[in-house]
């Protein structure tokens, strides 16, 4: 779609674009190019000399069991958070959609965790599950479970998954509710008249009609778990214990800062960029065509 009527101007449009292009090039393209460039070099410990090594950084990375471990961690983490946050949000949205009159009020009460910073969400959950003084932790210990996220990797993972899910439910809820409310009620009523029970109506009519929203949310949630949960992991576990909660993004951060391994960190960045570009491409290919709000 193009405008029929436009303004003349030779320099003005460039002047208008300049601020955004300048910032984009300086703070997006330049560093991205640097990351790619750096990933082909090995730097000595003092940062004095750089040696061009082709793909050695990548080879080292793919030979390192730690990298596969953080890949697996990321995979488990994404699957759990995406599954729980989507299914819980869908359940709430379906219930709220039934209560047409009260839907607005429920929306207000369920949406605000969106505004809570991931790091703060992490701290809230950390406090409840802190082994010696946390309210919930004490209840778990009273049941005879030796709850300790600081020592037990599985417990630490459970904790970050809970915080990340809690934070994301509101976002998914808003999109699911918008999706549900755009489904014509007449379609559902027609099915009801044909004798379809509520559960059957949900799985054969409502759920398929929601699938574009679900797919969109699936991609958005994966991107969320990859990048936005950094604050949760850093504030709750710091990637530990014994790297049990070190995701790919956290590893880029900790290898570059603590390890001083800039080449390796850059190689990891490049792999992540490729992953994000892939995810975004999928998102646009499908979303642009299918999702209607």
């Amino acid at each position: 779609m193009e405008k029929r009527v436009v303004f003349d101007g030779k320099l003005l449009p460039y002047a208008l674009l300049m601020p955004q292009l300048l910032i984009t090039i300086v703070f997006f393209y330049w560093p991205a190019a640097q990351a790619v460039w750096q990933s082909f070099f090995i730097q000595d410990a003092f940062g004095l000399t750089m040696q061009f090594v082709w793909f050695e950084n990548y080879q080292v990375l793919f030979a390192n069991p730690d990298y596969y471990r953080s890949m697996l961690t990321t995979l488990v983490f994404s699957c759990l958070v995406t599954f729980f946050s989507l299914s819980i949000a869908l359940m709430f949205a379906v219930q709220a959609d039934k209560q047409i009159k009260a839907a607005g009020a429920y929306k207000t009460f369920l949406m605000w965790p969106y505004a809570v910073a991931p790091a703060i969400a992490g701290v809230l959950w950390l406090f409840m599950f802190q082994p010696s003084l946390g309210l919930v932790a004490q209840a778990i210990r009273a049941l005879g479970i030796d709850w300790n996220p600081q020592l037990n990797g599985g417990h630490a993972m459970t904790l970050v998954v809970m915080a990340a899910t809690w934070k994301q439910i509101s976002y998914n809820f808003l999109f699911f509710l918008a999706g549900l409310q755009s489904i014509p009620k007449s379609v559902i009523e027609a099915a009801a008249i044909d004798g379809a029970r509520p559960a059957r109506r949900f799985w054969t009519i409502i759920f398929p009609l929601l699938s574009p929203t679900t797919f969109f949310l699936l991609v958005v949630n994966i991107v969320y778990v990859f990048f936005d949960t950094f604050g949760i992991i850093d504030s709750v576990t710091g990637g530990g214990p014994a790297q049990a909660t070190t995701t790919l993004v956290y590893k880029v951060f900790s290898d570059g800062r603590l390890g001083g391994d800039l080449g390796g960190s850059a190689a990891q960045s490049v792999i992540l960029m490729i992953l994000v570009i892939g995810l975004t491409a999928i998102q646009f290919r499908y979303i642009e065509r299918k999702v209607q709000y």
Binding site: K3, R4, V5, V6, F7, L12, P13, P19, Q20, L21, I23, T24, F27, F28, W30, Q34, A35, M91, Q95, A96, K98, Q99, I100, A102, K107, T108, L110, M111, W112, Y114, A115, V116, A117, P118, A119, V123, L124, F127, Q130, S132, L133, G134, I169, Y171, L174, F175, I188, V220, F227, G231, D234, S235, V252, F253, S269, M273, V276, T280, A281, Y293
Partner: protein, 282 residues
């Protein structure tokens, strides 16, 4: 709706109330903790009702800072967060609206190239190129400055796309009328387009304010001076690994204070927020 009302019609309310409980509980616990003294909390005997130390704890948090880890008072951090969130929100909207205006209302060489250059940045979250970006900001001498804190986060393809989409729906007749009246491009922008865009701008402002306020990794890296710290970073530093040293009542008061502005913005501007969210992501 279709089914007859039965005894089960209260079930959705029960489920939703349970949902609200889950969503609110962690925040309630934090609030309660922020009103007790350290001894009550560290005994693990904290009751589920607010205690008597509310004013004292919040006063200490905002104006004095924590005692043991010698942190800056949180009031300063909130000011930093506010400056950061406002600069990011206003900056993003300002540069996106003019670049969308250029792309939609002018024909010039490399127009589509410029559009794609902006568009591709959707795919590059700051987290994946964090060290090279850090290095560039350091080379430009912008570490520990509000500029370094905000400018790299300001370019935003989503806002540009949103404005572009909105401008496309503005009728061509308005441009024609302006041209007949002899208005220049910038006059049209100021007198016609800007007033029409107010709702979109406000909706986007809500989303971007929250985005800016909640930033974590970027301020963590580029601020080293305590006086430049934001509240979201500040709270992390209060939680000391040796648990005995953590002053939970202060940390929880800080958490409550850090949540307050963005949550208020979301609740007060609910309609705009939802509109902004659904449209930006589209």
């Amino acid at each position: 709706m279709v089914e007859r009302k039965t005894i089960f019609s209260f079930l959705p309310h029960v489920i939703l109330l349970a949902g609200i409980f889950i969503v609110a509980f962690p925040v309630y616990v934090a609030f309660v903790a922020s009103t007790w003294d350290p001894a009550t909390i560290s005994n693990g005997q904290m009751p589920l009702v607010p205690g008597p130390h509310l004013l004292e704890n919040y006063y200490q948090t905002i104006f004095v800072g924590t005692a043991k880890s010698s942190r800056e008072p949180v009031g300063m951090m909130m000011l930093n967060s506010l400056i950061m969130a406002l600069t990011i929100a206003i900056g993003k909207i300002a540069i996106s609206i003019i670049s969308a205006f250029a792309i939609v209302y002018f024909r010039f060489p490399f127009r589509m190239t410029a559009f794609w250059v902006i568009f591709v940045t959707l795919m590059l979250p700051v987290e994946v190129r964090i060290y090279p970006t850090y290095k560039i900001v350091a080379d430009l001498g912008l570490l520990d400055s509000y500029l370094g804190l905000t400018v790299p986060l300001i370019a935003s393809a989503t806002a540009t796309l949103l404005f572009r989409q909105f401008f496309m729906t503005v009728p061509d007749e308005l441009v024609e009328a302006s041209k007949i009246d002899g208005a220049s491009a910038m006059q049209f922008f100021k007198d016609t387009l800007l007033p029409l865009s107010i709702t979109s701008i406000a909706a986007l402002f809500v989303i971007q304010f929250i985005y800016g306020w909640n930033q974590y990794l970027w301020p963590l890296l580029i601020t080293t001076r305590e006086s430049m710290q934001t509240i979201v970073i500040g709270i992390k530093k209060m939680i000391v690994t040796q648990d005995a040293l953590t002053e939970w009542q202060i940390a929880m008061a800080t958490a409550v204070l850090a949540m307050l502005p963005p949550v208020l913005v979301v609740i007060l501007m609910q309609r705009l927020f939802v509109k902004g969210l659904v449209e930006t992501e589209k």
